[in-house]
Symmetry: C2
Subunit: 201 residues, 2 copies
DNA sequence: TGGTCTAGGTGTACGCCGTACACCCACAGA
DNA sequence: TCTGTGGGTGTACGGCGTACACCTAGACCA
C-alpha cells in the first residue's frame, strides 16, 4: 500500500496512483474511504518507520535521539512533513509516537503540565521537521550573493545575513546554512530550556 | 483587492472570488498572473498590518512585543498562517518584517551567526504562529474526557495529559490549554535561551 | 472629429481533480 | 447449485486553474 510513496511525490492524485498501480481510479475506493484516509495511511506508514531506540538513561539524550530518529525518517520521505501539516486529526502512529515521547519526559521527572508546555513548545519539531518561512536552499552561492547585494538597500539586515551564509558556503570551512545543524541547535536550546525551567521549579 | 480576504476563507478559489466581485473568473487574470501571485498579495496585505511598535529599549521585550503583534495580526485572519505555509518564496512584506526582527537582534548585540540560528530556531513562531501537530480545540471537555479515558489503555501518557487538560478546562480556575499562554511560554523559553547562549559566548 | 491604443471585462474550452452510482465478475461457503 | 461478497470497471458530475480569442469604453493625439 505504502509502496506508492516512493514514486508518488506531493502531487499525488488518486488517478495518478491508480494508473501507477495499473488499475482504474475508483478501484482505490474499495480500500480507502477517501483521499484523506489514504494520506493518513501513508503518514502512519512513515511514522511507524521511526526507530524508537532504548528508553533508558537520561531523559535528555533519549528524547534528543528519538526526535532525531524521527527527523531521519521524515527526511527519507520529503513529502511527509507537508502531508502531516494541515491534517486535522492525528493518525494512530503519530499518537503512539507522541505517547512515547511524553513517556520519556515523565520518566525524566517532568510533571504533567511541564510536559504539556514542552510538547507545545516543540511543536512540529517533535516529529523532526521545523516549519521554515521559506526555502533557503535554492541556488548556488554566487547567485545568492548577487541577490543579497541587490536587496542590501531595502533590507540591510537580511542582506547582511544572507551574505554571511553565502560566504560560508563558498569557503568550504564554514558551516553555511546546515539544516541539520540548525535543527539540532534549536532542539538542544529547547531541551536545555526545559531542564532549566524544571530545576527552577 | 485584499477586500476578498474577509469573506474568503481558505477555500478561496478564483471562481468564487470572481463571483464575489460580480465579475467573470478570467477578469482576475488582468490583475494577477496566477493564483499564487494573488495569494502573495493578500499575504502581504496581512503582514503589512503588523504593528512594529517602538524599536528602542531592551532587545528582548522589543522582539517579544513585535512577535506578539504579528500573532495578533495573524489571528485576525485565521487562514493567513495556512497560506504562508507552503509558500516557497517569501513576499516583500514578509522580508521587510524579518529584516526588522533581525535588526532588533543585531541592535541588541547579537552577532550575525547568532541571529541566523535564532531565526531558524524561532521558525514560523517569528510570524506569530506555531505549527501544532493537531488541533486540540475540537470539543467540549466532557467529550474530551471520554476520549481520553478510551485511549488510556493504549496511550497512557497521552491520556494522562489529555485528562489533565480536560480537567483544567472544566474547573474554571485552571488555564487548561490556552494557546496564547503556550505561545508566550515557548517564545520566552526561546528568547531566554538566546540570551543565555550569547552570554555564554 | 476621427483614428488608434489600451486597460479591463467576457465566453469558450481544456485537462485536471475527487468521488457518487450502478454494474459486473470470480470465487468461497452453504 | 445457489448466493453472497470483495474488488475491479465505466460513466458522469461538479469544481478547479487557466490558455486563448474576442469585445468594449474610454484616453490620447492629429
Amino acid at each position: 500500500m505504502a509502496l506508492a510513496d516512493e514514486a508518488g511525490l506531493d502531487g499525488l492524485s488518486m488517478r495518478r496512483l491508480a494508473t501507477e498501480l495499473g488499475v482504474v481510479p475508483m478501484a482505490l475506493y474499495k480500500h480507502v474511504a477517501n483521499k484523506d484516509e489514504l494520506l493518513d495511511g501513508i503518514i502512519d506508514a512513515v511514522v511507524s518507520e521511526i526507530e524508537l531506540g532504548p528508553a533508558e538513561g537520561d531523559w535528555k539524550p533519549a528524547i534528543r535521539s528519538r526526535i532525531l530518529a524521527a527527523r531521519q525518517a521524515l527526511l527519507r520521505h520529503p513529502w511527509a512533513s507537508g502531508a502531516i501539516e494541515g491534517r486535522r486529526n492525528p493518525t494512530p502512529a503519530v499518537l503512539a509516537y507522541m505517547d512515547s515521547i511524553i513517556g520519556l519526559f515523565r520518566a525524566g521527572g517532568f510533571g504533567v503540565d511541564e510536559v504539556h508546555h514542552a510538547i507545545h513548545a516543540l511543536g512540529s519539531r517533535i516529529l523532526g521537521f521545523s516549519q521554515e518561512l521559506f526555502d533557503d536552499t535554492p541556488a548556488d552561492p554566487d547567485a545568492q550573493e548577487k541577490a543579497a547585494h541587490a536587496m542590501a538597500a531595502t533590507f540591510p539586515w537580511l542582506a547582511e545575513m544572507a551574505l554571511r551564509v553565502a560566504h560560508d558556503e563558498k569557503t568550504v570551512v564554514g558551516s553555511g546554512c546546515d539544516d541539520q545543524f540548525e535543527f539540532e541547535y534549536a532542539l538542544d536550546l529547547l531541551l536545555d530550556g526545559f531542564e532549566r525551567l524544571r530545576q527552577a521549579g
